[in-house]
């Protein structure tokens, strides 16, 4: 058991730490190339994020969405599928939550309205996940192609729905506010967070992490899902219905990403706005990769990427904020590369971990 634990640390933590170290060095060089002192920039980044309550709140808000999209991608990868569709699943979830919220009577109690809207968000995301899932299960269509294409279709459909149907407030690309099902901001309980977008969806994200971890590593469904991802032929021989697992994984991933839409729609702005997803679905791929497809790893990775993204705003005075995007790229590359390299350095077991596979896609 101890060997298994140390192996897990070796597999899960060391490559990530190595990657962060590489990114730190690369960041230093970038900062120096702008004629700034690295120490000063990093300090500014930390003080702008974890240095004050507002910064913390913003990081938590950004991390919340990333947890959902990261989990969505991680669940797919565990089943052997590369879900590129978290972006449109997230958007569809947000749209459905807002649409239902607008349909509900305004006086409805939030205790009923919020769960209904959350359910709508999950259903919206699940539907978008279901399409590539069923295409893969029934016809063998590759999920990477299907999800990428579906991103365009769904995002265009949502744009049409908001701009051409009179759903939007005139002169804007967002719906009217959804009053009855607003999730309270953190500032409502802790005034120190005043002004930040962090809201109660954080608890939902933590629940999603716990439930996903249980589902993947403790449940029979997760056992079958991981077996399918690691060795589909062996899973098939064991009587596991592999296409069904693929479909379920896509539906589940879609539902989780869709639920993430509630962070913006129910927790922050209280309306659906075209383009609110803003790349959080694609960044979910990086979050899953750096988090090594482990729900708790996803949580940490989401916090890390949220910190970078918020930190980019803080250091903008000294270096361009695009620097953090470069750093994000370096971290992703370094994680992808360091997984086998770290193992070689440690002369660990010779076999490549199956979780490195997505890198080769």
């Amino acid at each position: 058991m101890r060997a298994a634990t140390s192996a897990a640390i070796e597999d899960g933590v060391l490559p990530t730490l190595t990657a962060l170290l590489v990114a730190l060095v690369a960041g230093d060089l970038l900062i120096l190339s702008y004629g700034q002192a690295p120490g000063e920039v990093w300090r500014l980044m930390m003080s702008g994020t974890w240095g004050n309550a507002y910064g913390i709140g913003q990081v938590l808000y950004k991390a919340t969405t990333l947890v959902f999209t990261g989990l969505s991608v991680a669940i797919g990868l565990r089943a052997g599928l590369f879900n590129i569709g978290a972006e449109s699943q997230l958007a569809a979830g947000g749209f459905c939550a807002a649409a239902l919220g607008l349909l509900l009577p305004t006086g409805m109690t939030p205790w009923l309205a919020i769960p209904m809207c959350l359910l709508a968000a999950m259903l919206g995301g699940a539907l978008v996940g279901f399409i590539p899932g069923v295409l893969r299960a029934r016809f063998g269509a590759h999920e990477v192609i299907a999800t990428i294409m579906l991103n365009f279709v769904v995002l265009a459909l949502l744009n049409w729905a908001i701009s051409a149907t009179g759903l939007a407030v005139p002169e804007t690309l967002h719906t009217p506010p959804v009053a009855s099902s607003s999730i309270p901001r953190l500032a409502a309980f802790f005034p120190v967070f005043h002004g930040s977008a962090a809201n109660g969806t954080i608890l939902l994200a933590l629940m999603a992490v716990t439930v996903s971890a249980w589902l993947l590593f403790r449940s029979r469904f997760g056992y079958e899902l991981r077996a399918t991802g690691l060795q589909p032929l062996a899973a098939e021989s064991a009587g596991i219905r592999v296409p069904r697992i693929w479909m379920m994984a896509m539906v589940l991933g879609g539902a989780v990403a869709g639920l993430g839409g509630s962070n913006f729609v129910l927790g922050y702005k209280n309306y659906f706005e075209d383009g609110f997803n803003g790349g959080a679905g694609f960044l979910g791929i990086a979050v899953a990769l750096v988090g090594r497809n482990n729900p708790f790893g996803v949580l940490l990775a989401a916090l890390f990427f949220a910190t970078l993204s918020q930190g980019g705003l803080a250091i903008h005075a000294l270096v361009p904020k695009q620097m953090v995007e470069v750093l994000e790229g370096i971290v992703i590359l370094a994680v992808a590369v360091s997984v086998p390299e770290v193992r070689r350095l440690l002369r660990a077991r010779p076999a490549p971990s199956a979780t490195t596979l997505p890198v080769t896609v």
Binding site: Y223, R226, A234
Partner: protein, 594 residues
């Protein structure tokens, strides 16, 4: 044959021991190699004379492959020295090794299927005319090489069209093209059918006679007697002895490998421990006693110490003679093994297949209107050259492959339309021929692999019951002697034989009815073969029906009650065991008789 081997030895001895100035082709001593906490090699040694065929044998997990990979530069040793042709090359890289004329032929071929034979052979050092690949030169060079080495090939054929045996020959040619004078082959015979194995040995002799030195890992004890000059035996990561092939027997080698006596039948196949209990082998008791004594004599430290002492003293390895007791192991007479109890043919057979047609990847009738039935307590051996529909038949019965017509019934229940899971639940189990992709999830622990397919039984309200899974795993690990005995160890970290034991342990629960055993002992060491055969025999006595497919005719003859021969998707004959022999079956297998 034996004469050839003797010549080889005397020639090699003449070169090696005779003139002390000539360094051996390979001298590895004190080699240690760790993988994490696992020590694959501890103080292992290997000495190979130039111009000989040298086999490294040992149980699965004995460290043979690791030692050869150290030699080929794939692994750097954690201790010890490696010398090749007198030069210290400890810790070299694969490119160093290739440059020095050391080439490894891997078990899994590294060929590009969409390229031709010639293109594969020259890949990486293609002859060019200007900026383009010079096909004519490549093919003529390969033809020259082919003529000189005696390895026939058609340079313009696509590799994807080749049989496994032909592909392996291309691998060897590729190694020779790169100038290898020392060839390392890791279990070259494991993937081949019997005629291809014979061809391989011929090829290796040809290559040796052309001046190359060959080191190989094999499990086929009987055949290595014919082809090798010398043998190094490894056990638990150590070299326990080295012998001249001409001065030993398969039984003595098996004893040294396992550290105890293993009974072999006339074909070099181990005989099960329960054979005596079943009254299958009348004379075994006495023999086993004698063999045990022999095992004790050879066992453990005494031998390796003696060997080390000789090495330290610098005496030539030829002095190491371990032939003293070899005649004391009496082989069980084949006649005694085969007199199995006649199965009682019940009115309802356990497994009945009627006019089954199965489409395959290459033919719409890989199995064509095939009928057979297996009684409770019967092992039906399915012989045949690989690729005649055996795989498709097994997969169709297991539910992995769709059928176009015909029925499959188990104990009278028509299962033709059953899902795989439903067939499993009914008691149809399957040892798949490719354990690494079909049989195991390599990145799952031993425990998780042991419940694969029965995970529903081990879960309560949707949750896997860890405690019950681990308890079950501990029990199976003990019963099947799976090593390491750690239920949390990843299946990937186990040797091939221990991986196969997981599959066998899982697919033979108490309540199964029909077992489809495809190549159950392929690539598995002697000790594990013996164990798996015991399990199959015990299952037969418990009234199970077993369909056994094996590329080893020896294995089929050693286990089966009836032998069916499959040729081009049909069963061309079914014989009772007493009427079957290699001579009788051979013409049916090749389609010459029907």
């Amino acid at each position: 044959m034996r004469e050839r081997a003797d010549q080889g030895v005397s020639r090699a001895a003449g070169r090696g021991a005779g003139s002390a100035a000539v360094a051996p082709a390979v001298r590895m001593s004190g080699v240690c190699k760790f993988f994490g906490p696992v020590q694959a090699n501890s103080e292992a040694s290997l000495e190979v004379q130039a111009g000989e065929i040298h086999a490294v044998v040992g149980e699965n997990g004995a460290g043979k492959s690791t030692l050869l990979r150290v030699l080929a530069g794939l692994y750097a040793p954690d201790g010890g020295t490696v010398e090749v042709f007198g030069r210290d090359v400890t810790g070299w890289s694969t490119s160093d090794a290739i440059a020095a004329g050391v080439g490894m032929v891997h078990q899994h071929f590294m060929l590009v299927p969409t390229l031709t034979v010639a293109e594969n052979v020259v890949l990486g050092r293609e002859p060019m005319s200007g900026l383009t690949y010079d096909r004519a030169t490549a093919e003529s060079r390969l033809e020259t090489l082919s003529r000189e080495s005696g390895l026939a090939c058609v340079p313009s054929r696509l590799v994807s069209e080749l049989s496994v045996g032909e592909a392996q020959r291309v691998e060897i040619l590729k190694t020779l093209y790169r100038g290898a004078t020392l060839l390392i082959l890791d279990e070259p015979a494991a993937v081949l059918s019997p005629p291809e194995v014979d061809e391989l040995w011929r090829v290796l002799r040809t290559v040796r006679d052309a001046g190359a030195t060959i080191v190989l890992v094999t499990h086929k004890l009987d055949e290595l007697m014919e082809v090798t000059d010398r043998i190094t035996v490894m056990r638990h990561g150590k070299t326990v002895m080295r012998l001249r092939t001409s001065e030993t027997t398969p039984a003595a080698i098996a004893t040294a490998m396992v550290g105890r006596a293993v009974r072999l039948d006339a074909n070099g196949m181990p005989v099960g421990a329960d054979a005596a209990a079943l009254g299958l082998a009348a004379s075994t008791d006495e023999d086993a006693g004698a063999a045990d004594d022999h095992g004790a004599e050879l066992d453990g430290a005494s031998v390796s110490e003696a060997w080390t002492a000789i090495l330290d003293a610098g005496a030539p390895p030829d002095e190491m003679i371990v032939s003293s007791a070899r005649n004391r192991i009496t082989r069980s007479a084949p006649a005694a093994i085969i007199s199995a109890p006649t199965p009682t043919y019940a009115d309802v057979p356990r497994l009945r297949i009627t006019a089954l047609t199965v489409p395959g990847p290459r033919s719409p009738r890989a199995v064509g209107a095939l009928s057979l039935s297996i009684a409770p307590g019967e092992i039906l051996g399915l012989a045949g050259v690989e690729g005649n529909g055996q795989t498709e038949l097994i997969e169709a019965i297991a539910g992995l492959r769709a059928t176009t017509s015909g029925t499959i019934t188990v104990d009278g229940t028509d299962v033709t339309r059953y899902s795989i899971g439903k067939r499993l639940a009914l008691g149809i189990t399957h040892i798949p021929e490719d354990r690494q992709t079909r049989g195991l999830v390599l990145d799952y622990s031993i425990a998780d692999n042991l419940i694969l397919g029965r995970q529903t039984h081990f879960s309560r309200s949707g949750r896997i019951d860890r405690a019950r899974t681990l308890a079950f795993a501990e029990d199976r690990i003990k019963a099947f002697d799976i090593r390491p005995a750690d239920p949390n160890a990843l299946a990937r970290s186990l040797s091939g034989g221990n991986q196969q034991k997981i599959v066998v342990a899982r697919e033979m629960p108490a309540d199964f009815r029909v077992l489809l055993a495809a190549q159950p002992t392929r690539g598995v060491d002697v000790g594990a073969i013996e164990f798996i055969h015991d399990q199959l025999r015990a299952a037969r006595c418990a009234g199970k029906a077993i369909l056994l497919v094996s590329a080893e005719l020896h294995e089929i003859l050693a286990l089966s009650d009836r032998v069916a021969v499959m040729y081009r998707g049909r069963i061309v004959t079914i014989l009772p065991r007493a009427a079957a022999s290699e001579d009788v079956l051979g013409p049916f297998m090749t389609g010459a008789a029907s």
